[in-house]
């Protein structure tokens, strides 16, 4: 799994910078209604006159990326972690050639497929079959290549029966499945995955992740991906890069990078839509008996600890699941049914068996196969040491009793 360090990298960014010039004088909407159009039409001669005057606009320069340098080895899964507007998307845009760097260079030893293009160019009027060929061509496959993969694509997507139906009649799930099937059957060496795994149902997301893992394991593909789901990052990635304000802050193991990212964002930037979802918040708190007192968010090794969930409106009973991860390793899964009427749920652990460190808590609310909601983004649980409990290396902390006896005087048979 770990790529050889002597081989030349499959991908390298060298001092890459990207500058955008924001032109304030042209902040007009791209789409306007008919009334606006008519007004525009009437105002056109006026505007033409104004344009003839010397321009008084002003420009602003923004460096979306500044001096970004990193390498990715063949067969590696490399994650980009960073907040909104940190430069992740710009970086992927440069990689997929939609934009060119302003300075620096990007070296590639293979072709790039972007899964950020899932479903791009699908035409609603065309049938599933026609769209497979069109989309394949858009992603860079020749007609012969698509034909050779056609059966496998159709099988993976599971839409055989509707192949000759226009995709405008597809459900959104079928649409995404077909699109992902096409993109994931390209044999390009480098795959760029941007947030696509946040669409579709839970079962399909899992299938996609499994497919990506298989491509990496069996075919030695290299994957560069962006996800807000930090649990996904820690499950898939071998290494991660933390990017802030267009600059590389840290490259290293996913657990370290995620920990640093979450520390840098003390109040987790929550998705405003999640505030209204069925699973709104999670706070972990350890009970303290000493003078320090109990503080929400303060979590100690070995202490009695509660995980408090704030729940939003739901229309049915569901199962609440809490998961704790460390660097792609699932440490713990706890679940319990919660009735539809509950607005809060609490999970209490007598003695938290986690050594000091940063853990990732994810949670979801399910009814049967359907996911009603999940915690987004995942929460970091910072576990601090407690004097009463000492632990060595490893993520687990348990209270252990040791006995040592003098040389045995056990009776011999």
């Amino acid at each position: 799994m770990s790529p050889s360090s002597t081989a030349s990298p499959i991908l390298r960014f060298e001092s890459v910078s990207k500058r955008y010039v924001i032109d304030r004088s042209r902040s007009r909407p791209a789409h306007s209604d008919l009334g606006q159009r008519l007004l525009d039409l009437a105002a056109r001669p006026l505007r033409a006159l104004r344009r003839a005057e010397p321009p008084t606009r002003w420009r602003e320069e923004v460096w979306a990326l500044k001096d970004v340098t990193f390498e990715v080895q063949r067969g590696e899964v490399f994650a980009l972690v960073g907040g909104n507007g940190a430069g992740k998307s710009t970086l992927l845009k440069l990689l997929s050639r939609i934009a060119e760097p302003t300075a620096g260079w990007i070296g590639l030893n293979g072709r790039v497929t972007s899964l950020l293009e899932v479903g791009t160019g699908f035409h609603p009027e065309l049938t599933g079959r026609e769209n497979v060929f069109l989309n394949g061509a858009i992603l860079g496959m020749s007609t012969a290549e698509i034909r050779a993969r056609f059966d496998r694509i159709v099988e993976f997507s599971g839409v055989e029966r509707y192949l000759d139906t226009p995709v405008k009649r597809y459900s959104s799930g079928m649409y995404v499945r077909l699109a992902f099937a096409i993109a994931s059957h390209l044999d390009h060496e480098i795959m760029v995955v941007d947030e696509v795994l946040s669409v579709g149902d839970a079962a399909f997301r899992d299938k996609c992740m499994t497919r990506i893992e298989a491509l990496v394991r069996d075919e030695g593909r290299t994957v560069l991906f962006v996800s807000h789901d930090l649990a996904q990052v820690s499950r898939l990635a071998h290494r991660a890069l933390l990017i802030e304000q267009g600059q590389v802050k840290l490259i290293g193991p996913p657990a370290t990078v995620i920990g640093r990212y979450l520390e840098g964002t003390p109040s987790p930037q929550r998705d405003p839509t999640a505030e209204r979802g069925p699973l709104r918040d999670l706070v972990a708190t350890s009970q303290r008996t000493d003078a320090a007192g109990t503080r929400p968010g303060d979590v100690r090794t070995g202490a009695p600890t509660t995980f408090d969930f704030e729940l939003g409106p739901r229309d049915r009973d569901a199962v609440l699941e809490l998961r704790l991860d460390l660097g792609g390793l699932r440490l713990l899964t706890l679940q319990a049914p919660v009735p539809a009427a509950a607005t809060h749920a609490r999970c209490a652990i007598d003695a938290l068996p986690l050594a000091p460190g940063t853990y990732l808590a994810t949670a979801s609310l399910r009814a049967g196969d359907q996911e009603l909601g999940r915690l987004d983004p995942a929460r970091a649980i910072l576990v601090t040491a407690d004097d009463a409990w000492s632990s060595g290396e490893g993520p687990l902390a348990v209270r252990a009793r040791w006995d040592s006896r003098p040389p045995s005087v056990a009776p011999e048979p």
Binding site: R12, E14, S15, Y20, K93, I98, A103, W105, G121, I138
Partner: protein, 281 residues
């Protein structure tokens, strides 16, 4: 360890200006996409229509009918030899339609495919280029209809028929040139998307569709030929209708020159603007 410096040991290097250098090679490598984009446009056009391909004949026949009616009421049909006026008009609508459809589809080809432009890399030239194919099918259907009519009225075309591709190419060259200008400008200023239909309407009446270019005074004729559609339409009439006067080579030269200048300048502007399409669209 990473060292700065020249990129070595990589098959592909993306650096400022790299896309401009490998442009024509990239265009050739994406020819299968050209085919699929053109096929998409054609398929979509006739999905869920009853008349299908017949729609392509609708507009040329309508304009032929309108001109016949108007000039019939005014009382004076210009004719070529013994060829009936409606045939003279219909013959001109063929290159006009080929040109106009290309410009119309071409001018919005980038903005209509904004999701492609912002998410996938390919030479953007493919979009206005594949927009030309829309008009070609209508053109072929119309041409076949005209040939049938000419045979039925007892005026079968002569050897000049073989020059038709050259005049069609003239119309396509001008069409692509204008399409490149308008599509690239339309990315920045949506005004040009609205402007194209007006320009075409104006051009339709200024071009010799409903009348003959010989109506224009002799000493103005070469200047009139600066509209490349004059050369294309005259060429079509010369090639298909018998007997017609000799082809005015001065007019044709002016038309060809303007068409080529439009294409070359359009290409230059398009390529200069191309890299910023994804950011501005």
């Amino acid at each position: 360890m990473m060292q700065a410096g020249a990129p070595t040991g990589f098959e592909t290097v993306l650096a400022p200006g790299a896309q401009r250098r490998g442009y024509w090679r990239a265009l050739l490598a994406h020819r299968s996409l050209f085919y699929h984009l053109a096929a998409r446009d054609l398929r979509v056009r006739y999905k869920q229509t009853l008349l299908g391909l017949a729609w392509g004949l609708f507009r040329p026949l309508l304009s032929t009918g309108a001109f016949t009616l108007v000039f019939g009421m005014l009382g004076g049909f210009p004719t070529i030899g013994q060829t009936a006026y409606p045939i003279v008009v219909f013959c001109a609508t063929l290159p006009w339609q080929l040109f106009a459809t290309g410009v119309l589809h071409g001018s919005v080809s980038l903005t209509m495919n904004a999701s492609l432009v912002t998410r996938v890399y390919f030479p953007r030239l493919l979009l206005p280029l594949s927009a030309l194919i829309n008009g070609l099918v209508d053109f072929a259907v119309g041409l076949v209809l005209l040939l049938i009519v000419l045979i039925l009225v007892g005026q079968p075309p002569t050897w000049r028929l073989v020059t038709i591709p050259a005049f069609a190419l003239l119309a396509l060259t001008f069409s692509l040139g204008l399409g490149l200008w308008l599509s690239a400008l339309n990315v920045r200023y949506r005004d040009f998307g609205y402007l194209a239909p007006f320009l075409l309407q104006l051009g339709f009446f200024l071009s010799p569709v409903g009348f003959l270019s010989t109506t224009v005074p002799e000493h103005w004729r070469v200047a009139y030929g600066l509209n490349p559609m004059v050369g294309a339409i005259d060429g079509f009439r010369w090639a298909l209708l018998d007997p017609s006067g000799p082809l005015d080579l001065g007019v044709l030269a002016a038309s060809v020159a303007v068409a080529i200048v439009t294409l070359v300048s359009g290409l230059a502007y398009f390529r200069r603007a191309e890299l910023s399409f994804a950011d501005r669209i």
